[in-house]
């Protein structure tokens, strides 16, 4: 099929609305080993997180999402994932870079850092975030209640424009 690899790829993003949140639910059920509560789905629809909660489309097919929330001046990355068949084609990279860019230029509040948890068994994920400027700053023990290993790395990326 290599000869066809030239087929154009279009990546696009969409903000979350009550109308497409069903797609986020569907993605989360296959992407993550944990089930999220109603609170999560209410939070990601809040207006202030709109630039940081996005659906990702590959040639108009919904293939992934990224969802963050504010914790004071921190942006906490709750979930990010791309469906398995669509990985290794820079979709995740473009998505995280887009969020970093939005966060860097964000005012009210100015965002000091983005941080997230990664299950300690998930080396691939850790490497992915490190490639995008994240650093491990600690381990949260017993972070997960229903899956093992229960510990999680804490990864963060400090943002340039944040005032000291």
């Amino acid at each position: 099929m290599a000869s066809h690899a030239t087929a154009q790829t279009r990546l696009s993003f969409a903000s979350l609305t009550p109308q497409n949140v069903g797609t986020v639910r569907k993605l989360n059920t296959v992407l993550f080993p944990v089930r999220y509560g109603e609170r999560y789905y209410q939070d990601i629809l809040q207006a202030e997180v709109e630039p940081f909660c996005q659906l990702v489309y590959y040639n108009d097919i919904p293939v992934g999402n990224i969802c963050c929330r504010f914790e004071g001046r921190d942006l906490y990355l709750m979930t990010m994932g791309i469906l398995a068949p669509y990985r290794s084609r820079q979709i995740g990279s473009q998505t995280i870079e887009r969020i970093i860019e939005s966060a860097s230029s964000h005012t009210k509040p100015k965002i000091g850092r983005i941080y997230l948890h990664v299950q300690v068994s998930n080396e691939d994920a850790k490497r992915f975030y490190e490639q995008h400027g994240f650093k491990e700053v600690g381990i949260h023990e017993n972070y997960y209640k229903k899956i093992t290993p229960r510990d999680a790395w804490i990864l963060e990326r400090r943002l340039q424009n944040a005032d000291k």
Partner: protein
């Protein structure tokens, strides 16, 4: 204005003139005062009474106004004013024929009243009285010859009445009056195109062409697309009708270049390609090896010339056969799947009529799918893989291979669980396999992925209706209807959503709420009546604005509109219900709300009621009341009769009607000519006519049905019924088996009628064979058709064969070599239940086993449970981790 009964003095005549101008200027309250003053002095002055009545109607006091007008007319039947007023009121009630008569009366007493002549001409067009329209138009032109519109109007009237020669003469005469027409004028350009059209219809093709060439060259005709279209069409006709002419070659060349010019304007129009091919002597309907090669060569040239156009490629796919087809289909499909074109299957579906092409397409797409399986670890094009699976699922579903389709869809969902199309297709597969409840669930899954997609929403509503969930359908459709509407159903009715009305009517019919079903079918009729009304304003407007060719198209469309499948379906379905109500008089009573239900389950039903109560729900009523208060008494309410409140919104009174058959016949009659072209309408017509003992009409219906589909199973049944009735009625004199009761009916049929009935019967059934033999012969020649088995069983039953024989005949439909579909099974089951067969349950269970995926053959309790379950949310087990 002379009136016999009460003549006004000079001064009062002035007052009456004031009254008229008050009305013209719509100074209604002032007009009423003036009228009152006159009436004080002359209480019997008919014209004043009529004018006052008219003003009252405008002011919203309709009944009072009409009463006064009637009185006024009685006083003065020779006044054109009185007749004019009456015509206006009738027009407001859409009684066009009556209004027309009143206008004609008015003209008797004031023959050159231009306004009345003009109104008359509009009504004559609306009622298609084209001969008298010509008279009116001539009259108008004589009264005001200086207006272009009146010349146009006369020419149009001639054209409509079929007198093209006169139409041409009028057009020419008008142009000779103009010293010089306006250049670059859109209206004049339309006028000239109409002239070309008339010449073309007259068959004066060379004149039409010369005229078109000259007028477009001189920039009188400015519509470029129309110029090309007309020229291309006329040249092609010229060439085809004068093959021997020395100019034929020139015409052919010019025609080709005109069609090509049109293709440059729109390369997706397949008619243009076909015209180019036809111009080169290639008829796509009649290809041989040689012309097929030529056609494909030409189409591939076009495909290169218009690299983005689909039309030439699609046309090539319909033309090509065998290996050539494979060679063309492969790249077409490859490209479409790579691009991810969701509609690929619907594009190709029409090719499936040819089983070889269907096979080739399957092989091509399965090959593409296999190429992915070679190296599934690194799917280089995940989207293409997904669209390939999607296509295959649709493909297998179309071929009735439901299990295979579902397997593929499961793979696709595993690959990409977020594509709504996959769930929609799954819903369709389940629907086809006879599981409407699973289909509802799957469609709802699609809807949850994309709540703002109106298409999915509509499908979701439709699937719920198909599963008998009317309230739930209404709820979901309500997400997209106007928020202020009384109910979603009321809004959809107002929006003339025919697909909704038909589906909801069918849903009510299936769940036995025949009253509500009837209401919906009649709502469809109202929509079509509105379509007819809608043309009214265009009769004047189109001529004034010289929008002629689209206007002719519109009139043609209006004349044919009742042949629309939705309308035919509504009429036939309503007829079937009327027949059931007639055959079983207790049925109507059983549909009445019982005392208990009105009280106890009122609340539970209120939603469903609300849906049916469109137009007279409380909120709207209070709104109307509020409107009345706010509007002061001087407001003009116009002449249109207000829509009367529906006194029977649920149709519970309607189903008690004792003239069910007459109502059915009346509804059927609205189909006019188009009723003869629909087999279902013919059969319905027959069934009603037989019950009404209108045997000639029944015979005609059979003849029409026979012309549409001579081998239709249900037609066979009707012929048997007709023949059987004939034996006991009009053939009785031959067999001389007289019984007193029968003979009286028989005698009521005149002998010439009897012979017509007899002629009809022998044209449908060989005279020498009995109805039993006729039926067994029919069954023999259609032995593998489930519909034929059913029809023959019905015929046997009708002819008095033992029930056991009828039942065992029906059970043969379950044999493996008979392609029984879910629908066939349901029809047979429903018939068995209808005749209270003891084996109905056995048949149901057999079908349930035969159609493994189906749920429609489950017991009603099981189906109720499935209906209940299919919308329940799957309970999600969520981790209440605060940090998540």
């Amino acid at each position: 204005m002379a009136s016999q009964q009460a003549t006004l003095a000079q001064k009062d005549r002035k007052a009456f003139q004031d009254l008229l101008s008050c009305y013209e200027l719509k100074q209604l309250t002032k007009g009423r005062k003036v009228a009152d003053q006159i009436l004080k002095k002359y209480p019997d002055h008919g014209e004043t009474m009529c004018m006052k009545g008219l003003i009252l109607v405008h002011l919203g006091q309709r009944d009072e106004g009409i009463k006064l007008i009637r009185e006024g007319m009685r006083k003065d039947l020779t006044s054109h004013i009185c007749w004019h007023v009456w015509a206006l009121v009738q027009k407001g009630e859409h009684k066009y024929e009556e209004a027309l008569k009143s206008y004609m009366q008015a003209l008797r007493f004031d023959k050159d009243n231009f306004n009345i002549v003009r109104e008359t001409s509009v009504l004559q067009t609306q009622t298609r009285a084209y001969e008298s329209l010509v008279e009116s138009r001539l009259h108008m032109l004589r009264l005001r010859p200086s207006f272009r519109a009146h010349w146009v109007g006369l020419a149009v009237a001639y054209q409509l009445s079929g007198n093209l020669v006169e139409a041409k003469r009028v057009l020419e005469h008008f142009q000779s009056l103009l010293r010089e027409g306006p250049v670059n004028d859109a209206e004049y350009s339309e006028f000239l195109l109409f002239h070309v059209h008339v010449l073309e219809d007259l068959g004066h093709l060379q004149d039409a062409l010369a005229f078109l060439d000259k007028k477009s060259k001189d920039r009188y005709i400015v519509d470029r697309t129309a110029t090309h279209t007309f020229r291309a069409r006329i040249l092609s006709k010229l060439k085809n009708t004068n093959k021997e002419s020395p100019q034929a070659a020139e015409w052919s060349t010019r025609a080709e270049s005109e069609w090509r010019a049109l293709l440059d304007l729109n390369p997706e129009c397949s008619d243009y390609y076909q015209a180019v091919l036809a111009n080169q002597g290639i008829d796509l309907g009649d290809l041989d090896e040689d012309s097929c090669t030529k056609a494909l060569a030409l189409l591939s040239e076009f495909a290169v010339h218009f690299p983005k156009a689909y039309a030439p490629r699609q046309l090539a796919l319909t033309v090509a056969q065998g290996d050539r087809f494979r060679g063309l289909a492969k790249p077409y499909i490859e490209v479409a799947l790579s691009k991810g074109i969701p509609s690929l299957f619907s594009n190709l579906k029409k090719l499936y009529a040819n089983p070889l092409k269907c096979q080739v397409i399957e092989e091509i797409v399965e090959d593409i799918r296999a190429s992915f399986l070679v190296d599934p670890a690194s799917p280089s094009e995940p989207a293409k893989y997904l669209w390939t699976l999607y296509f295959l699922a649709q493909h297998y579903s179309f071929l009735g291979r439901h299990r295979r389709a579902l397997e593929i869809l499961n793979l696709a969902v595993e690959h990409t669980p977020t594509l709504p199309e996959l769930y929609m297709t799954k819903a369709k597969v389940l629907k086809r396999a006879g599981d409407p409840y699973g289909a509802v669930r799957s469609m709802d899954e699609a809807r949850k992925l994309d709540g703002q997609d109106r298409f999915i929403n509509t499908k979701s509503g439709k699937y719920r209706l198909r599963a008998g969930m009317v309230d739930e359908a209404e709820e979901i459709l309500g997400l997209f209807t106007r928020k202020g509407a009384a109910t979603p159903g009321a809004d959809l009715t107002e929006m003339q959503a025919l697909h909704y009305l038909v589906e909801v009517g069918d849903a009510y019919r299936r769940i036995g709420k025949l009253n509500l079903a009837l209401k919906k079918y009649y709502a469809v009729q109202k929509v079509f009546e509105a379509f007819r009304e809608d043309q009214y304003d265009f009769h004047q407007y189109s001529i004034r604005k010289t929008i002629l060719l689209p206007y002719f198209d519109m009139l043609k469309w209006e004349d044919e509109v009742q042949s629309h499948p939705v309308y035919v379906h509504a009429v036939v379905s309503a007829t079937r219900i009327w027949i059931r109500l007639h055959d079983d008089p207790s049925l109507g009573k059983s549909l009445q709300p019982s005392a208990e239900t009105t009280d106890a389950s009122r609340k539970a039903l209120s939603k469903a009621k609300k849906a049916a109560h469109k137009g007279n729900d409380p909120s709207q009523e209070s709104q109307d009341a509020a409107n009345k208060k706010v509007s002061n008494q001087s407001e003009d309410k116009g002449l249109d009769a207000p829509i009367p409140k529906d006194e029977d919104p649920d149709g519970v009174k309607m189903v008690l009607a004792d003239d069910a058959l007459e109502r059915a016949a009346k509804f059927l009659a609205t189909l006019k000519e188009s009723g003869k072209r629909s087999i279902d309408a013919c059969l319905a017509n027959f069934d009603v006519a037989m019950r009404r003992k209108k045997y000639l009409q029944a015979a005609r219906a059979l003849t029409h049905a026979h012309a549409v589909d001579a081998q239709h199973p249900q037609l066979h049944l009707r012929v048997v019924q007709f023949g059987n009735t004939g034996e006991s009625l009009w053939l009785i004199s031959v067999t001389t088996k007289l019984s007193v009761a029968v003979s009286s009916v028989s005698d009521s049929i005149a002998n010439p009628v009897k012979s017509v009935l007899h002629e009809t019967l022998i044209s449908l059934k060989p005279e020498e064979i009995s109805l039993d033999v006729f039926t067994s012969q029919y069954l023999q020649s259609h032995s593998t058709s489930p519909s034929a088995i059913l029809a023959c069983a019905q015929a046997c039953k009708f002819l008095g064969n033992p029930t056991e024989d009828v039942e065992s005949l029906l059970f043969t439909a379950l044999k493996d070599d008979i392609g029984l579909s879910v629908e066939d099974g349901l029809r047979i089951l429903s018939y068995l239940q209808c005749v209270k067969s003891t084996r109905a349950e056995e048949f149901r269970i057999a079908c349930d086993n035969k159609f493994e995926l189906s749920t429609v053959f489950k017991s009603s309790e099981e189906q109720a449970a499935l209906r209940h379950q299919c919308l329940l949310e799957e309970k999600e087990d969520c981790d209440d981790v605060e940090t998540l």
